[in-house]
């Protein structure tokens, strides 16, 4: 909910934008003036939450107090999921791995994570995978990053998902590089179910990493 703390920018924008019949401009100004007052949670978010959809607690690693909650809104025929937050950020997910983000400022347009996902599910001690990311630049000049990644099992770790549920997980590192950019994703994969219950995943150099932990009710 506080992911978009853009105080100064909004204030300066409000000064420039003034008042208007355009609700878009007005809401920007209200946000600027209201500071950190909570925003009305998004209706789709509330509906999915009330329907008992699975959720994540999420936090941006390079921003202080940038936490929110995501719930799963829908799954398409290809098993690609769309998750949304109360302030209407969204994530495209495939079995716990991020394949898209929207609203973070420097987003992932789409990603192909199939090989890493298979390696995590197989649970071998080490694997080499390819991980493709297309950033969302807004331009037609689409660039795509192809990373070569080392997926290695590090340790066995308990992850507390709720007061009375502790998941027994293997921690994996996915260390990726493409010559210009390096990043390391962390995945805590529950033994047995092979489900990713906690992770820290890289989005972009500017946005940094997003930490996700499954909510167990």
């Amino acid at each position: 909910m506080i992911l978009r703390s853009l105080g100064l920018m909004f204030v300066s924008f409000a000064v420039l934008a003034g008042c208007s019949s355009d609700p878009n401009r007005m809401s920007l100004m209200k946000q600027a003036l209201a500071g950190k007052t909570a925003i009305q949670p998004d209706a789709d978010f509330v509906a999915a939450q009330n329907a008992g959809a699975p959720g994540y607690v999420a936090g941006l690693q390079n921003k202080k107090n940038a936490y929110t909650v995501f719930v799963r809104q829908t799954v398409n025929a290809k098993g690609e999921e769309t998750w949304i937050s109360p302030d209407r950020l969204s994530l495209g997910m495939k079995d716990g791995m991020i394949i898209a983000t929207r609203g973070f400022g420097n987003d992932i347009y789409a990603a192909d994570v199939e090989q890493t996902l298979q390696a995590l599910k197989a649970g071998h001690g080490a694997a080499v995978t390819e991980h493709f990311i297309t950033p969302l630049s807004g331009s037609s000049q689409v660039e795509r990053f192809a990373f070569r990644c080392q997926v290695t099992r590090q340790s066995r770790e308990p992850v507390q998902l709720s007061d009375d549920y502790i998941a027994d997980t293997d921690l994996f590192h996915e260390t990726c590089r493409n010559g210009q950019i390096d990043f390391r994703n962390l995945f805590w994969v529950e033994r047995g179910s092979r489900e990713i219950v906690q992770s820290r995943q890289w989005i972009s150099e500017e946005t940094g990493e997003l930490a996700l932990r499954a909510i167990r009710r």
């Binding site: 420039l16 003034g18 008042c19 969204s90 495209g92 400022g105 420097n106 347009y109 630049s137 331009s139």
Partner: protein, 702 residues
């Protein structure tokens, strides 16, 4: 002698510095000269900035101030505009206020063996205060930490340690340099009889990156500072200048330098990369998720689609999109939309497509979306529902959706109108800032105030709009220089408008937009068209849905408004108009030529070249040549300027249409002045045509 001295210096420094080992990953910027162009201190280098770099450079030393704005127009071409203030420079002892332009070209890029080479003109269209030409070569060493430069200069850059022009071997014309402007009215012309002519001199120097933040520059200057020495008492004790610069992570650089052993100068430069806004992909809300298909029953389908109460209307409205018309026939749905929010039409289109998919029954498989401009249709884009479903999270989804979309002209709507959309009302109260630059008495003047603007659109295509302004504080009305123009004062009385007005009508118009035929758009505007003119303006634009060429014709009757900017008019009126050719060269380069009659009754043409980045940030330059003789035009000789437009969403990251634009003219005079009517068609239509949709198609899935 001086040359040898220089190279001794260069060598001794380079050799000392060669020893220590350095980290490899230092990112090196191209050093900036006190002229805002790639260079050391006063001397240029053979480098260029990275493509698209826009940079302001401010310089102070002794009684001199220089304000530079430079732009890397293309990977090889750079340009700069400069405003300089030099105390005591005039023969009379008065301060000199000077505007100048530079243009440079990268002849060769650096290779393992060869230096990069730049040829450039400095101050080619001003008073010639800094008038010079050069060829400079730069080669990097020591993991690019050390850059050595050597070059040859003419004009001011050939004024110290000079020798006969080697180009004299090619032709005798190079031996003698032209005189330059003899009085103020000759200023502004291209002094081609000076270029690369007269004595030449060598210059050189080095830039050394000490660490990530700190760099050092040393140069041997071929500029004798002749006029400064004679008139301002400047002391030129040595040809050597040296600078120390501190660079910040965002590219800002602060420098202190020693100039010719007698003065200390300060320089600050701020680069902007227009291609990289802070929030590249925007911070607006995520788009609607694409939901699984549902049956008509599950959607409770069958209510009145043509009312503002339909779920489809509400779902689009939540995205900032107004549903103006809709028809569903068999498997095809056609909608007419007004995009009130997204600067990129592709984004409005992508969101509309997903809303349609989520709100129309499963057997509707084709979506046709009509874009509008004040209610009239522009383009129709056909999308298949199955493509949306297939490509939602596809790694190449952007490009694939684009090639599968069919884009065509939409001279008429094929969607049935939703009742109650019209009339539309809009209003806005905003602050405004109106600057006026380069008056020698006060180089920066501005008014700050509040503006109220509103519009009523009673029916498709018809808009009544107005804006009033109330200046609150400012000094635009303090100008004491009456226009000395011998032409009709069509623009040069600008200070009178500021002096004699208080609450003012910025514009008050009735506009009608229409589609006379396929690929053709029309506009008629009547009323108080702009600050200084009222009348009637009419325009036709031919712009196909695909292709790079557009043609326009505009004819206006304009009558000069009273200085109080209320309802009255002055005696002067004129019929003015232009035929225009617009061409999209690709890569973001947009060219425009307007040929016709200007406000003072002069005939001529305006040439404009803009570079527009995919995100809408735009930098351009223009000049106008008319049958007004240069002498009659007055200072500057002809109208010219540069313009910059920064979209709101570039600054804030939020999806909001509009932007902040400014045009910088060295001088605003009466020749080559065009009517400033609002809503010329090309800019309105362009966003929904194929080229522009393609440029911003990356936003379709945003």
């Amino acid at each position: 002698m001086h040359i040898r001295q220089l190279f001794t210096n260069v060598c001794s420094f380079a050799c000392c510095a060669m020893a220590p080992a350095f980290a490899q990953d230092v990112s090196l910027g191209v050093p900036t000269s006190s002229f805002g162009t790639p260079g050391l201190i006063d001397m240029p280098t053979g480098e260029v900035f990275s493509d698209g770099t826009l940079k302001t450079t401010t310089v102070f030393h002794g009684g001199t101030q220089k304000y530079n704005l430079s732009f890397q127009i293309s990977p090889r071409i750079f340009g700069a505009f400069r405003y300089s203030i030099i105390d005591d420079y005039e023969v009379t002892g008065a301060t000199r206020y000077d505007r100048s332009f530079d243009l440079g070209y990268l002849l060769a890029e650096e290779t393992a063996l060869r230096p990069s080479i730049v040829v450039a003109l400095r101050d080619f269209g001003g008073t010639g205060l800094y008038g010079s030409e050069y060829v400079a070569a730069t080669k990097h060493f020591m993991d690019d930490r050390l850059a050595l430069t050597a070059g040859i200069g003419w004009g001011r850059l050939g004024s110290y340690g000079s020798f006969d022009n080697p180009l004299g071997a090619v032709s005798d014309v190079f031996d003698t340099r032209g005189d330059g402007p003899s009085d103020i009215t000759e200023v502004g012309r291209l002094e081609t009889d000076q270029w690369f002519r007269g004595d030449a001199a060598l210059f050189g120097g080095l830039a050394y990156q000490v660490n990530k933040n700190l760099s050092f520059k040393l140069e041997y200057s071929s500029d004798a500072y002749e006029a400064e020495v004679t008139r301002t008492g400047f002391e030129r004790k040595t040809p050597i200048n040296a600078a120390l610069s501190y660079g910040f992570k965002n590219g800002t650089e602060l420098s202190v330098y020693a100039l010719h052993g007698s003065e200390v100068g300060f320089m600050a430069n701020f680069p902007i990369n227009p291609a990289k806004p802070a929030y590249v992909s925007g911070i607006e809300e995520a788009p609607p998720a694409l939901m699984p298909r549902r049956t008509a029953a599950a959607l409770s389908w069958g209510g009145d689609l043509h009312s503002k109460t339909s779920p489809l209307f509400a779902a689009l409205e939540a995205q900032g999109i107004t549903l103006e018309g809709v028809s569903v026939e068999g498997a095809t749905a056609t909608v007419r939309i007004a995009n009130g929010r997204y600067p990129a039409e592709a984004q409005a289109l992508g969101r509309t497509a997903r809303v349609l998919a989520n709100n129309l029954p499963e057997d509707v498989t084709t979506f046709r979306v009509e874009n509008t401009l004040n209610g009239i249709t522009t383009s129709r884009i056909t999308l298949r529902r199955s493509d949306l479903e297939e490509l939602e999270y596809d790694l190449d989804g952007s490009w694939r959706t684009f090639v599968r979309a069919k884009i065509e002209d939409a001279p008429e709507t094929e969607a049935t109108t939703v009742a109650g959309v019209y009339p539309k009302f809009e209003w806005r109260i905003t602050p405004y800032l109106e600057p006026s630059l380069f008056d020698p008495d006060d180089p920066v003047r501005a008014d700050f105030g509040i503006q109220a603007a509103g519009s009523i659109t009673p029916a498709r295509g018809l808009v009544f709009a107005g804006a009033i302004r109330q200046p609150l504080i400012g000094n635009l009305d303090t100008s004491t220089r009456p226009s000395n123009s011998i032409l009709q004062h069509v623009r040069s009385d600008a200070p009178e408008y500021a002096k004699q007005s208080d609450l003012e009508i910025k514009y008050l118009t009735a506009e009608y937009f229409f589609r006379p035929g396929k690929n053709v758009f029309g506009r008629v505007t009547a009323g108080y068209l702009e600050t200084m003119y009222g009348g009637v303006s009419s325009e036709l634009l031919w712009m196909p849905a695909h292709g790079s060429l557009a043609l326009g014709a505009e004819i206006n009757y304009a009558k000069q408004r009273d200085f109080d900017q209320l309802f009255g008019f002055q005696d002067y009126d004129v019929v003015t108009g232009h035929a225009s050719v617009y061409y999209d060269f690709g890569g973001g380069y947009l060219g425009q030529v307007d040929v016709g009659r200007y406000l003072a009754g002069d005939y001529g043409a305006t040439f404009t070249l803009d570079r527009e980045f995919d995100n809408g940030f735009r930098v351009g330059a223009f000049f106008t040549l008319t049958d007004v003789p240069f002498d009659d035009f007055g200072e500057g000789s002809f109208d010219k300027g540069i313009r910059i437009n920064i979209p709101i969403d570039w600054l804030t990251g939020s999806a909001t249409k509009g932007g902040y634009g400014t045009t910088i003219r060295p001088l605003l005079r009466d020749g080559g002045a065009r009517l400033d009517v609002r809503n010329r068609l090309y800019e309105l239509v362009r966003g929904s045509r194929t080229n522009e949709l393609e440029d911003r198609w990356g936003k379709f899935w945003r």
